[in-house]
């Protein structure tokens, strides 16, 4: 079953994913953690993938760079960067893409940066991998990248180790690392989750600002609808390894369709003083033991008998607004 990837017809996707399947060999035997995942993103656009822990959003992000952990494998689908299916490339060709065409910003910069190498060395290393330049030129480029992310005193910071920087500065360094070779696509996996709120604001501002200036395509993975509201152009909501809803950010926040999306929004306490929160009862089912029908059905307040039996298709419910739900036929 091919799920449609929404993309305004006038724009050409830089990155597109079709029917991606990811499987994991685990304690309970192999099981699928991401199914029928399709997405597309164009230059200058920010696509947010939102969902709670374990929904498969990070796996999807890693798959885009073919960086899945050893126990996981891509079991099907296509990932195309500028039309080239990277799943068909050999090792070195993929390595050439990483950092050059598509770069990644990780969640926790303290662990994602090598603790025993200076910031500058780590950035320069990327540059030298992809460009034939001298060591000093690479270092100059690293300092430039640090300037780009508005790192204060970049020359000095380049000579420091990750632990010597504050959380916010580390994340700036991480971003500088990703931008060092001007990639067309940036994948950011929860880039602000580990940060304090004032710093988060700065980093989100920086990311938005940089994208505007560099015109890259961006995929941002987050669990925080607040972040989504701040930066997304389009949004994919994931639940239990599948897309449940996809729409432009305005459509999604104005008229959420899927009960899970609605539940998430109701559960956020922000600006709801003393009002009782609408929680989603129950817990996410384990991926190796998914219910037969709609994975959300057991927790869904409006679930019908059909929901428990048959999985709803992911379809366009309103123009440009897709969802997978039997009970909603809003047109």
């Amino acid at each position: 079953m091919t799920t449609p990837a929404t993309m305004p017809a006038d724009r050409k996707p830089v990155l597109s994913v079709e029917d991606l399947q990811i499987r994991i060999r685990g304690e309970h035997g192999p099981f699928t953690v991401v199914s029928d995942m399709s997405l597309a993103v164009a230059a200058g656009e920010t696509l947010c993938i939102v969902g709670e822990s374990g929904c498969g959003k990070s796996m999807t992000a890693l798959a885009l760079l073919r960086l899945l952990p050893e126990a996981a494998e891509i079991a099907g689908g296509r990932i195309k960067i500028n039309g080239r299916d990277i799943l068909k490339l050999n090792g070195h060709d993929v390595e050439d893409l990483r950092g050059e065409e598509i770069a990644m910003i990780f969640q926790e910069p303290l662990t994602a940066l090598n603790p025993v190498m200076t910031i500058g060395d780590q950035i320069a290393e990327t540059v030298r991998q992809h460009r034939k330049v001298s060591a000093s030129a690479a270092m100059a480029r690293a300092v430039e990248a640090l300037k780009l992310v508005q790192m204060p005193d970049p020359e000095r910071r380049a000579r420091q180790y990750p632990h010597e920087l504050s959380g916010g500065m580390r994340q700036r360094a991480m971003i500088a690392l990703a931008l060092a070779c001007d990639p067309k696509i940036i994948v950011a996996d929860e880039p602000t989750t580990a940060l304090d709120v004032t710093i988060q604001a700065q980093i989100l501002g920086l990311i938005a600002d940089l994208q505007k200036r560099l015109g890259s395509a961006q995929i941002l993975i987050t669990h925080d609808l607040g972040v989504v509201a701040e930066v997304a152009d389009r949004v994919i909501v994931m639940y239990a390894g599948r897309k449940v809803e996809e729409a432009s950010v305005y459509d999604l926040f104005d008229h959420p369709i899927h009960p899970y999306t609605k539940g998430l929004m109701g559960a956020i306490p922000r600006g709801r003083a003393s009002e009782r929160l609408t929680d989603i009862p129950g817990t996410v089912p384990p991926m190796w033991d998914l219910p037969k029908g709609c994975a959300f059905a057991p927790r869904c307040p409006g679930a019908s008998a059909r929901c428990l039996e048959e999985r709803p298709p992911f379809e366009e419910k309103r123009p440009g607004h897709f969802a997978a739900c039997w009970e909603h036929d809003d047109v």
């Binding site: 390595e95 893409l97 050059e100 990644m104 662990t111 025993v116």
Partner: protein, 326 residues
């Protein structure tokens, strides 16, 4: 930094005092005394008693302990009862041999252990990994003296390739000789060193290889390794620059710890290969109840142990910028 080193060295003092007291206490209650050993079977009880008097063995223990510490403070480690020489001279004469053996074993163990560990981790689950880890298991399971004897039997006795026992010219001298045109001196020195060092290195090599493997596998799962791949780096570069360097950190502290144990293991190895080092001296000193000498040896071991730990910590700080010594 300097303050750190000074503090660490100051901490050594209570440890050394404690070790002297423990050793002293043990020697006090160990049956047998140097006088009777010194005078041999044919000595009369009166002669033994007279010698005990003149050695001060009949003084109360606190007087003896006090005297020992008083002498220590003035830099006097005492005089060996049996060798009529200052303890410091005797120990210094032997220390080189033991350090040579221990360092050689450590170098072999480190090189071998790291190589095996890295190869194993890179080929996790393969035949190479399995075979390497079986060797590592055997390495930690084999009594060092048994391995020593087997090696001696095979390479010295049966094959006759290497000398069975003893020490050639001291290695530093031998290196100098080789540089000044006498390579056979170096060969002689190395040929004597090879078997005992090999026997002594088996256990630490096995431990290092296993630890390196575990540590490598752990590091391979670290986020920054994923970052390195995400940057587009080639695998060898990721392994060497990112994985190995970080994986070495825990290995480093174990190497230091092992060095202390190597010195202990040298006791057995030295007695099998007739290596004229501290280990053999220890056995002799204990069997002769040569108190000042035993005390001196214990202090030497303690000092080496403390110094090695200090060096490892300093190295650690040098390799890992996160560790700040202050």
């Amino acid at each position: 930094m300097i303050a750190y080193i000074i503090r660490r060295l100051l901490l050594f003092i209570p440890m050394a005092v404690g070790m002297v007291v423990v050793t002293f206490g043990l020697l006090l209650i160990i049956p047998g005394d140097p006088a009777s050993v010194l005078l041999g079977q044919e000595a009369s009880p009166e002669a033994i008693e007279r010698l005990r008097d003149s050695l001060g063995l009949n003084d109360p223990w606190y007087v003896r302990l006090w005297d020992y510490f008083a002498n220590l403070l003035s830099g006097d480690f005492g005089t060996s009862i049996f060798q009529n020489q200052p303890v410091a001279t005797i120990i210094l004469g032997r220390l080189g041999a033991t350090l040579e053996l221990a360092v050689a074993a450590l170098v072999i163990a480190t090189v071998l252990g790291l190589a095996m560990g890295v190869i194993s981790a890179m080929r996790q689950g393969s035949i190479v990994d399995t075979v390497t880890m079986i060797f590592a298991q055997l390495g930690v399971s084999m009594p060092v003296y048994w391995l020593g004897l087997l090696l001696m039997l095979a390479f010295a006795v049966q094959l006759g390739w290497l000398p069975a026992i003893g020490r050639g010219p001291p290695l530093p001298e031998a290196f100098w000789a080789a540089l000044t045109g006498k390579p056979q001196v170096l060969m002689d020195s190395l040929s004597h060193l090879l078997l005992p060092a090999l026997a002594l290195s088996a256990m630490p090599a096995a431990i290092i290889s296993r630890l390196t493997r575990t540590s490598m596998l752990e590091m391979l799962r670290e986020d920054f390794v994923r970052t390195a791949y995400a940057k587009g780096l080639r695998r060898p570069r990721v392994i060497i620059r990112h994985v190995l360097r970080n994986a070495l950190l825990p290995v480093l502290s174990v190497i230091g710890l092992r060095f202390g144990m190597l010195l202990g293991g040298a006791v057995l190895t030295e007695s099998i290969f007739a290596w004229p080092g501290l280990g053999q001296l220890t056995i002799t000193a204990i069997s002769q109840r040569d108190l000042p000498l035993i005390q001196g040896i214990v202090l030497t071991f303690a000092l080496i142990f403390a110094l090695v730990n200090l060096i490892v910590d300093l190295l650690y700080a040098a390799v890992d910028p996160r560790v700040r010594l202050g």
